[in-house]
């Protein structure tokens, strides 16, 4: 591990005043320390925000929910308000990584973690995402890589919380010494075509301080399920988030989100269109799942994902609609 200066901060303003000269923010440290140990991240200065008390907690407001960025995944998973009205978020946070990691990982850090790609995460490969000019995944081992938007860098969006938050039309609150701004999750991530090295629009002098979720419309039901190879501690090969605005059995509006499908967490308007104005049945759910794969461009080894996502989506639609229990084949 490289040597660095550690700025241990206990207030938000204190942390903000440290955000210069290549400072890197550390919250739970789950992803960052891994990247530092393998020599991928080499910060000269670490700003530890873990102990800032004002940035942790879940608050119900008239507009919806405000979640402090330092709230852990475990706290979100177990929160009664989240469980009652934002099942998709409780599910997503509750099925990430392991119980130990969920106790340590913060929602802010989860949203800001780096994409999954073993070439990027190995110090043996100097890749596009590290500022070099080559991607090794196209001709290499790409079974876990993206099937959409994968022509520049096929690494996959890792955050299960982001899947839920995109489906819930959430935003993140970014704070700098100059003030606050709010950015919708859908605008938060930077596509690798724009810049493979930049993950999000957050500026070097900004902290992600909160997640803001609007109150769901009446009749909203939601769910998240993760599919992978192992039940304990595995990254999703396909995860699906579903938010349904229901009128009786008719779906007014749907949000269908896929994680681990593309470099930036994505909704599928085509899948959503298959549900809008229709009753939720296994048939419409399967049609939505199938529609979600339109335009998929699998690489040499990840064709199975095109088979897997429709299953993940239809089963999660039925779970959200209350027509199926939690899938025993889902993992996490």
């Amino acid at each position: 591990m490289n040597q660095f200066i550690l700025a241990d901060c206990t207030t938000e303003s204190g942390a903000l005043s440290q955000l210069h000269d290549g400072a890197v923010v550390k919250a739970g440290g789950v992803d960052l320390l891994d990247l530092m140990k393998s020599g991928i991240a080499t910060p000269t200065k670490l700003v530890n925000i873990r102990n800032i008390s004002g940035m942790r907690g879940i608050h119900e407001t008239a507009q919806g929910l405000n979640i402090g960025a330092l709230t852990t995944l475990a706290e979100i998973e177990e929160d009664p308000a989240v469980k009652a009205h934002y099942a998709i978020l409780s599910d997503a946070c509750g099925h990430a990584a392991t119980p130990q990691i969920r106790n340590m990982a913060t929602v802010g850090g989860n949203l800001l973690q780096q994409n999954r790609c073993w070439y990027f995460r190995s110090d043996d490969f100097a890749c596009l995402k590290k500022g070099k000019d080559m991607c090794f995944a196209f001709d290499g081992l790409n079974q876990y890589h993206a099937i959409f938007d994968n022509t520049t860098c096929p690494s996959v969006a890792p955050s299960s919380a982001a899947v839920a938050l995109l489906g819930l039309n959430a935003s993140v609150e970014l704070t700098s010494a100059k003030g606050k701004r709010t950015v919708a999750i859908k605008d938060f991530y930077v596509h690798p075509d724009v810049n493979p090295m930049t993950r999000t629009v957050i500026a070097p002098d900004e902290l992600l301080t909160a997640v803001v979720i609007p109150k769901p419309a009446s009749g909203t039901r939601s769910a998240y399920q993760k599919y992978g190879e192992k039940r304990s501690y595995d990254w999703a090969t396909a995860d699906a988030g579903v938010v349904l605005e229901m009128d009786g059995n008719i779906c007014r509006k749907a949000a269908i989100v896929m994680g681990a499908a593309s470099p930036v967490v994505m909704r599928s308007p085509k899948a959503e269109a298959m549900l809008a104005g229709k009753p939720i049945t296994e048939e419409t759910a399967r049609a939505a799942g199938k529609a979600a794969m339109e335009g998929a461009q699998p690489l040499s080894m990840n064709g199975y994902k095109v088979q897997l996502f429709p299953v993940a989506i239809y089963r999660t639609i039925l779970l959200a609609a209350g027509q199926m229990g939690r899938d025993p084949s889902a993992v996490g």
Binding site: G140, Y227, Y233, L308, P328, S329
Partner: protein, 805 residues
């Protein structure tokens, strides 16, 4: 329990009762329990040395042996006070770090260590001149004249020692290695092509280790293909002609790494008169052996200590590169040196289970009799050998003719080493599925077919238990019977391992006047629980509870202990310990006889009491009697004597049934349950035996479904050298495991103990899951790991309802 009928063949295997001829001088004829209680238990005669202790009755008649007392070191382990090699701290100790090859194949032109040496805190740099592990060129003239040729990315090249770990890490990066890179190959199939890059410029062979592994020597080598090693018995060609049914299939298995929780490493302290090495090893003796040979030291000047050990699975014999490099750096610097590998190095450079591509062909008569078994295998042990996997095909069943050809294929990857039941998980995956395929073709039940072709009397009983189990009874013999996308299946697999005895097994037992007893042996406890078993052996002899016995092991200052590999430790060492305990008890009686006013042969030590045969006194406790010893201590040392019935070759095994649910839409296999019926002779400590079988099944499930060393085909680097993308079964991936032991006495030693490490489910889990998968889906899966992509591909390719009975 029901009694099975013993066939004449079984009777022959069990051994006829020895004739009553006069025993040779120094020996006596004793009757020993042999067979399976409730099934085949009987008495057999053995001629044994008169110095041997009395015959040990079966477990139910014993107080401590065959019971499951608390693990002797449980508290130390769970409280964190147990000191592993990783934890060793010595005054002034330096931390060492390897410099590893950055390319998969190259000649090293030059190595510049000057920048590393100048870094403050760096105390020593050592460039490796003689690399351990992997195959060695037969023709020494072909060897590199400068530095060892790099044959895989991650191969150790040099090492630095510094006052702090991060300084060593930084210094390692400052060592400049200039490579003359050469073409490389990391894919088995490509490596077999005539124009493939050559891993070795000529024929090369690898030595084995105490736990098996290492390939054949002196076989043909063509390009990267080292072999075939051919084994022929009878006329296989004729056998296939004689067959009514022939089944032929191809199977392939991946590379698995040992991934023990504690990585390889040592702490070495080189002093002028003594090299002391704390080692994470399966063999204190093997580490001493290798260090003494490497540095031309007398063995008496090398001491190896392994207090606690975090797993090995076959990869931790000898000092290896970490051992000799740390010792060298300690010698250079005059300071103790700590050198433990990181997880990446652990995956890359210290061993693995080789891959396999197998073509297995079996011919049978209508009644199931096997007319011929033919196996052609290609497997890669990286830049080593040892990928043979014909063990199960050769040894599980009776055949009229056998023809096996095993080939090692060199690739530019780290050398394999022995791994828990070398060759068997691969071989059983193919064999046991092929036997099931054969059963289908013959319209026979899988257990009936095995009853016909498997002569082993213990597995016959195990199959009977399986046959009567609720799980097996719940199996629908018709495959692919479930409607819907979740399909349930049940399948079984058998396993076989061999009785090996390591004669380098000795112990000393001491009895003190305060009534305390202790046992000393250099044997290491690799986590399987030999400490507890030794305590039980002493407890049985002296009538002292096991937790009151002192067990001092893991130090070559004590009498030599066996290397723990190949399921030998308990079978090899416990007789020596019991012999020593018996002899110490005789000395003890002699020592207390005068004070008790009688002759030694009037005294008996039994159940923790000293009795006078002539009733000269009321029985007194062992402890009270000890106070009457005429010296402070009596002791006896014993070494292993050969098995009582040497000509008799025993095997161990088991039968495992797996229940799976296959989600045909997602490709996920959910192993719901495994029922495992196993034998390991006399279970010395049933709970520890079951513990090992649980571990073996878990390792087998992990192999079947998850683990895979993945090398990038274009650059030769491992892309998953961690425990995140190298996937190992976690707690929620582990099904309900139900283990039943079959006690099987063989009358071979003073404890009649056997081993369990290999025949513990690790070899049969993948095959049982494969057979259960077929029962669920009607489709054969012939590739491991059986990940969702592999499953979906198998389901999409296979014709509907294949092999349906």
């Amino acid at each position: 329990m029901a009694t099975t009928k013993i066939t004449p063949a079984e009777e022959a295997l069990l051994g006829a009762v020895a004739d009553a001829a006069t025993p040779p001088p120094g020996t006596e004829t004793v009757m020993m329990p042999v067979g399976i209680p409730g099934y085949t238990l009987h008495q057999e005669a053995r001629q044994i040395p008169t110095t041997q202790p009395p015959v040990l009755p079966i477990n139910k008649d014993l107080q401590y042996i065959g019971k499951s007392p608390k693990r002797w070191d449980a508290h130390a382990k769970v409280s964190g006070s147990a000191r592993y090699t990783y934890d060793i701290q010595l005054p002034g100790m330096l931390y060492a770090k390897f410099v590893n090859a950055a390319v998969p194949h190259a000649h090293i032109v030059s190595i510049d260590t000057s920048a590393a040496e100048k870094l403050p805190g760096v105390k020593g740099v050592y460039v490796i001149q003689h690399l351990l592990g992997g195959a060695v060129l037969r023709d020494a003239a072909l060897k590199s004249k400068t530095y060892p040729t790099v044959r895989y990315a991650g191969q150790p090249i040099a090492a630095v020692a510094a006052t702090q770990p991060h300084i060593a890490e930084e210094a390692a990066k400052l060592v400049k290695v200039q490579y003359d890179a050469k073409p490389f190959v990391v894919d088995l199939e490509k490596a077999r092509q005539p124009n493939a890059p050559q891993v070795f410029p000529g024929p090369a062979d690898q030595a084995g280790t105490a736990g098996g592994g290492g390939g054949p020597h002196g076989v043909t080598q063509t390009g990267n293909v080292h072999g075939p090693a051919i084994h022929k018995v009878g006329d296989a060609e004729q056998g296939f002609k004689d067959a009514d049914v022939v089944v032929e299939s191809k199977y392939s298995t991946q590379v698995q790494t040992h991934s023990a929780l504690e990585t390889h490493g040592v702490v070495a302290d080189w002093k002028p008169d003594l090299l002391t090495v704390w080692a994470s090893t399966q063999g204190t003796a093997s580490v001493r052996e290798e260090l003494a040979a490497f540095f031309h030291l007398p063995k008496s000047q090398v001491r190896v200590i392994t207090e606690f050990m975090g797993g090995g699975f076959g990869a931790k014999f000898g000092a290896g590169n970490p051992g000799v490099v740390a010792a060298q750096l300690s010698r250079q610097t005059g300071t103790p040196v700590w050198l433990m590998l990181d997880r990446k190095q652990e995956h890359l450079s210290v061993g693995n289970r080789p891959s396999s591509d197998q073509t297995l062909k079996i011919g049978a008569k209508k009644d199931g009799t096997l007319t011929a078994v033919q196996l052609v295998s290609f497997g890669s042990a990286g830049c080593g050998t040892g990928a043979g996997c014909a063990g199960p095909a050769t040894n599980l069943y009776k055949w009229a003719a056998l023809h096996t050809e095993e080939n090692d294929v060199f690739i530019n990857a780290g050398p394999a080493s022995a791994m828990r039941a070398p060759g068997h998980p691969q071989g059983a995956f193919a064999l046991e599925q092929t036997i099931d395929e054969l059963a289908t073709k013959l319209n026979m039940d899988p257990i009936d077919l095995r009853d016909k072709i498997d002569e082993n009397p213990v597995r016959r009983v195990e199959r009977q238990i399986i046959r009567e189990s609720a799980l097996w009874k719940s199996r629908n013999p018709k495959p692919n019977a479930d409607q819907g996308h979740i399909k349930r299946g049940v399948g079984l697999s058998q396993s076989v391992w061999y009785r090996h005895i390591n004669m380098n097994s000795a112990a000393e037992v001491r009895v003190h006047r305060d009534g305390s007893v202790e046992v000393l042996s250099a044997v290491q406890d690799i986590g399987t629980g030999i400490k507890t078993v030794l305590a039980q052996v002493l407890a049985e002899q002296f009538g002292v509870p096991p937790e009151k016995v002192s067990v001092k092991i893991g130090d070559t200052n004590y009498p030599i202990g066996p290397n723990s590999g190949g399921s030998v430790t308990t079978a090899s060492l416990t007789p020596a310990v019991r012999d020593a305990a018996w002899q110490a008890s005789q000395k003890f009686l002699a020592s207390v006889a005068p004070a008790l006013g009688t002759a030694p042969d009037d005294l008996v030590l039994t159940g923790g009491e000293v009795h006078s045969k002539s009733n000269k006194f009321q029985p007194i406790t062992f402890r009270r009697a000890a106070a009457k010893m005429d010296t402070d201590e009596v002791s006896a040392q014993s070494k292993r004597i050969p098995d009582y019935n040497k000509g008799h070759y025993d095997t161990y095994g088991g039968v495992d049934v797996a229940e799976v649910e296959v989600d045909t839409e997602t490709g996920l296999i959910h192993v719901k349950r495994i029922f495992a019926v196993h034998d390991c002779g006399r279970p010395m400590n049933p709970s520890q035996v079951i513990n090992q079988i649980n571990g073996g099944l878990i390792q087998g499930i992990s192999y079947a479904l998850y683990e895979n060393r993945l090398l990038d085909p274009n650059f030769g680097y491992m892309v998953n050298p961690n425990l995140e993308q190298y996937k190992i079964a976690g707690s929620r991936d582990i099904p309900e495991l139900h283990v039943q032991l079959v006690e099987s006495y063989i009358g071979q030693s003073s404890t009649d103990a056997s081993g369990i490490g290999e025949a513990a489910g690790v070899m049969s889990a993948a095959a049982a899951i494969g057979n259960a998968f077929h029962n669920a889906t009607g489709v054969r899966i012939r590739t491991t790991p059986m990940t969702p992509p592999v499953v979906l591909k198998a389901l999409s390719k296979a014709p509907q309802r294949s092999e349906t009975a």
